[in-house]
Symmetry: C2
Subunit: 202 residues, 2 copies
């Protein structure tokens, strides 16, 4: 049996998607990937505690203090030293350069809280995505897991799940429902799907 795909999860905040991935992994639902490190671009975020509790090594590679160039050099070094083959962005709030993403073709995964190509691209993140969907008046939204390339939210789609909007939804209630009904469901599944492909090709 080929070894599991060595996977890093990049975070910037609370890490609710990280937790969903940790939980599903503990249940044995992500047999093709092993989370070998959680990396945050900020100190003190709760995602780092979640990693600790799950017994996963974590690291902080600061962004703000150094800027993107130095951040990416340090990030690449951290990933290489741990033999990381696949990168999962989970609430990671920095945009990676085209140079960086080109080093990991079809190896970086991201989740976006809409049905791409609706409400995505530059400027669409967090609550803004859900506000845009409600302002437009759509009745169905959802989440998308996709590979990351040089175009924001532009890489190949791996999985999508639909979420129906209620008449009295606010951006906040919608954000929570999209997380619970879509993001936490499809992200672990999509990670397994991508990892099993990488594993087969090793």
């Amino acid at each position: 049996m080929k070894p599991r795909v060595r996977t890093a999860v990049l975070v910037s905040g609370g890490g609710t998607n990280l937790q969903a991935i940790i939980d599903k992994s503990a249940e044995g639902a992500i047999p093709s990937a092993e989370i070998v490190v959680v990396i945050s671009d900020r100190e003190g975020v709760y995602a780092l505690e979640r990693a600790d509790k799950a017994g996963i090594p974590s690291e902080v590679v600061p962004f703000k203090e150094t800027g993107r160039g130095e951040f990416e050099r340090r990030l690449a070094a951290a990933l290489e030293s741990r033999g990381v083959e696949m990168i999962v962005l989970a609430g990671f709030m920095r945009i990676l350069s085209a140079d960086f993403t080109a080093h990991y073709p079809n190896r970086i995964l991201n989740i976006h809280p809409s049905l791409i190509p609706s409400f995505c691209g530059e400027g669409f993140y967090g609550l803004k995505v859900h506000k845009a969907a409600l302002d437009y008046g759509v009745k169905v939204t959802g989440a998308t897991v996709h590979f990351v390339n040089e175009i924001p939210d532009g890489g190949r789609i791996i999985m999508q799940k639909a979420v129906y909007i209620d008449d009295n939804d606010t951006p906040e209630t919608l954000q929570k429902r999209v997380m619970r009904e879509a993001e936490w469901v499809i992200y672990p599944e999509a990670i397994e799907k991508a990892a099993s492909e990488i594993r087969r090709s090793k």
Copy 2:
């Protein structure tokens, strides 16, 4: 009880959505609307036979021979003579002018075979919509019922329903599934929803 909303269905072809509406109406699922006429812009289309079989009056208002100005004048006359209050476009392949749509604000319904705002607007009709969705690589598509205004596929959304794409879907198989799983389901429901609002406001 206020009278049912006098409704015209406009068609150009086979009339599968018309049939779904006729069937649901016969089941009593569209109590707020009465289909008083089916109007086609072309002679000899099967939708006209479906109207006949259901005992619904039908008319042909030719487009090709006269052009849009004369077509819309004759259409408006036909609608007025029958006291039509709501217009349902069901596979009707002509674009109505801003002048015409302005006469029926929130009174003209259309169905589009995607989750608007994805894969809609000028040039997106029929199989082209499904080909665009497959080419983009989305995993979820669907159908949208919306009011018609001067912007193609730009009016307020009434209902949407999601359809999951299979790995081996072609534009043809996807078109059929979107019809069966989404269009024929939500169009009758959306017509009832819009008609009941019009009826309440009478």
